[in-house]
């Protein structure tokens, strides 16, 4: 009887949809290796940035292979040599600065979401036949159990890297890959079905959830009434928050500084009151930050000795207000939540003390403030 209920045409359609979704997800998330991959995790290359250049197409990003990994345990990083770059001469040289690192490489993680991925292992000899190092700069030597890459002095310090054959992998055929995804997709659907049957949950609740999200209008007047009621707790909430954050960051609150871009983008730029007001509309980082620049511009009119203090005061004020806004939006119903929410948001929700003591970081605080204000209930009761 139960099986009949589960295998209705509507449900079968749902299973197909789930299978398609799971297959799509799996075929897009763990990315396929095209050509040959070298697993770089755990190798000496992790000590720094290493850039592999095709000596022929140095400036062509499609042929430039860049490797970067800070956390080899987390990222099983592969240097993937695409088919189109096959047989191109390669050189190895160390990267200079982080800014040079561009993620144009095809980098593959076999441990993504803990899923194993079908890959073939190939020998160092095969790899040696596959890629051709540039003779002046790099030598690729097949060894008994892998390959050895040796970069000559010139483009960087001389270095040798050994790769065990366990770390040299190639992609399987597309049909094998498809089969792999299908198996995982099926497993996903079957697991879901087992959960539904075992827990005896029918999925009428899904319809209810979707209906309540998209169709049912909200009783926002109740939210407005909660908002008004909550306002009586504004003062205790401020005091409680100050009681926590002030001793916590006492040193930083009592020693105004010119941290991060507060010095270059605000203090230095506007010092001496020489800049025109239009300067606040400039985009030094490709975006406008009118609010913080305006504060910097206005502060430049004050005595130089109190300017960092003004930055600090603005930052504390903005962060304090932002930590409080959610509590008084009318979304919280209990007094204890209204009082404690600012403490949690102000101490953990705000991710760095720079939000509390720099003008620069107010760009993030202002964005949060804007988003929270959108959640506030309207005053009038008129219908649209």
């Amino acid at each position: 009887m139960r099986a009949a209920r589960i295998l209705t045409p509507k449900n079968i359609l749902l299973y197909i949809l789930l299978l398609a979704t799971a297959t799509y997800f799996l075929s897009n998330f763990p990315v396929s290796v095209e050509g040959i991959g070298l697993e770089l995790s755990g190798s000496t290359l992790n000590d720094g940035y290493m850039i592999f250049y095709s000596s022929v197409y140095v400036d062509d990003p499609d042929y430039r292979i860049v490797y970067h990994s800070k956390d080899p345990d987390r990222f099983a990083v592969f240097l993937d040599i695409p088919n189109k770059a096959k047989n191109r001469p390669y050189v190895i040289r160390p990267g200079h600065r982080q800014q040079e690192v561009e993620l144009t490489a095809l980098i593959f993680c076999k441990k993504l979401l803990g899923l194993p991925y079908p890959l073939l292992r190939i020998s160092g000899r095969d790899l040696a036949a596959y890629i051709r190092p540039c003779p002046e700069n790099t030598r690729l030597i097949p060894t008994q159990k892998g390959i050895r890459l040796r970069s000559a002095r010139g483009w960087g310090p001389e270095a040798t890297f050994d790769f065990h054959e366990d770390k040299i992998l190639a992609s399987v055929s597309p049909s094998a890959r498809m089969g792999y995804h299908l198996v995982w997709g099926l497993l996903f659907v079957v697991s879901l079905l087992v959960i539904l049957v075992v827990t005896r949950i029918r999925y009428g609740f899904l319809q209810e959830i979707l209906h309540n999200i998209f169709i049912t209008p909200t009783n926002w007047k109740e939210q407005r009434s909660m908002h008004r009621k909550s306002l009586r707790l504004v003062l205790p909430a401020i005091l409680l928050l100050l009681l926590v954050v002030v001793p916590r960051s006492w040193d930083n609150f009592t020693h105004p500084g010119l941290y991060v871009e507060d010095s270059t983008q605000h203090f230095n730029l506007f010092y001496g009151n020489t800049q025109k007001i239009t300067k606040i509309f400039e985009r030094p980082h490709n975006y406008m930050a009118v609010g913080t620049h305006l504060i910097g511009w206005l502060t430049a009119r004050l005595d130089v000795r109190i300017q960092p203090t003004v930055y600090l005061a603005v930052a504390i004020g903005m962060s304090l207000l932002t930590s409080l806004l959610f509590s008084f939006s009318g979304l919280l119903r209990n007094n204890i939540s209204i009082l404690l929410a600012p403490v949690v948001l102000g101490t953990s929700g705000i991710i760095h003390v720079y939000m509390w003591n720099t003008l620069t970081y107010q760009i993030f605080v202002a964005a949060i403030m804007l988003l929270l204000l959108l959640l506030y209930p309207p005053r009038s009761t008129s219908s649209p």
């Binding site: 990222f75 209008p217 209990n334």
Partner: protein
Amino acid sequence: MIWSAPYSVLAIPLAAGLLLLRVFPCRQKTLLLLYTIVITFCYFLTLKSGTSRPLQLFTNPLFMQHFTTTLFENIFFLDLFGKMSQAKIMIFLFCLGSCFVLFRKDPLYLKISTLFLLVIVVNLFLYFSSKKYMNYEHWPNHLQISLFFWYCFLIFSLDRMTILLRRNRPPLLLLGWTLLLGICLADNLAHPDKYRVPVMPKIPEFLDTVKKWEEHRQELLAANEYVIIQSDAYWRHFEKNFGPLVRIGSREKTSRPRAWIVISSLPPDKNGKND
């Protein structure tokens, strides 16, 4: 506020979500939300083109992988529960799904929570679309908005839980808040930069020196000279092109330097210049 921050573009999906999900079905708020969308879109148009590569998230495997790990490890697991694993993801998704099932009769909760999750994901999407992605990898800025709204989601869920279980209301709420404050404490202990960075001890001396030289401004102008005063960029960290630096006196091309004063917590030989 819209013109003050690049991340204010998040107001577009949030306002659109509030409209589409009919959270505030009233004329005043509808107009305000539409106005917000238009103004934010205008701000969006002022962003310099070529600074983002939105498609890289879908075409570059590293981005997809990094996006997923950041979302789970740094946001949902609050950087407190180690590395992402299948088991942890399943437990998390089960808990998140349970919240939606438990509150299935509460439209406000469902709508607001959906919007919180939307903001969390879209904020990360904006960050991973940025060309500056690698430059900011060491800084947690990009997590700020996502993490804040994730805490909002947790607080909101905890608060609404009391509607479901009215009979056991005070103990449940207290238990929940004890847990959340415990997480908050653990988070602060694990991340001391949330509340403390080394102070810049030389700033008062730097400011006093600037003030002192400002009194000689006219004299410097008359002599067509200038003085440069510079201090540390961070605590015990001096960089020539970063940190507070002012020029007092003449700004003419023909002007001559009278002094270059470096007020640093480092010994003079490591400062590059000192007078």
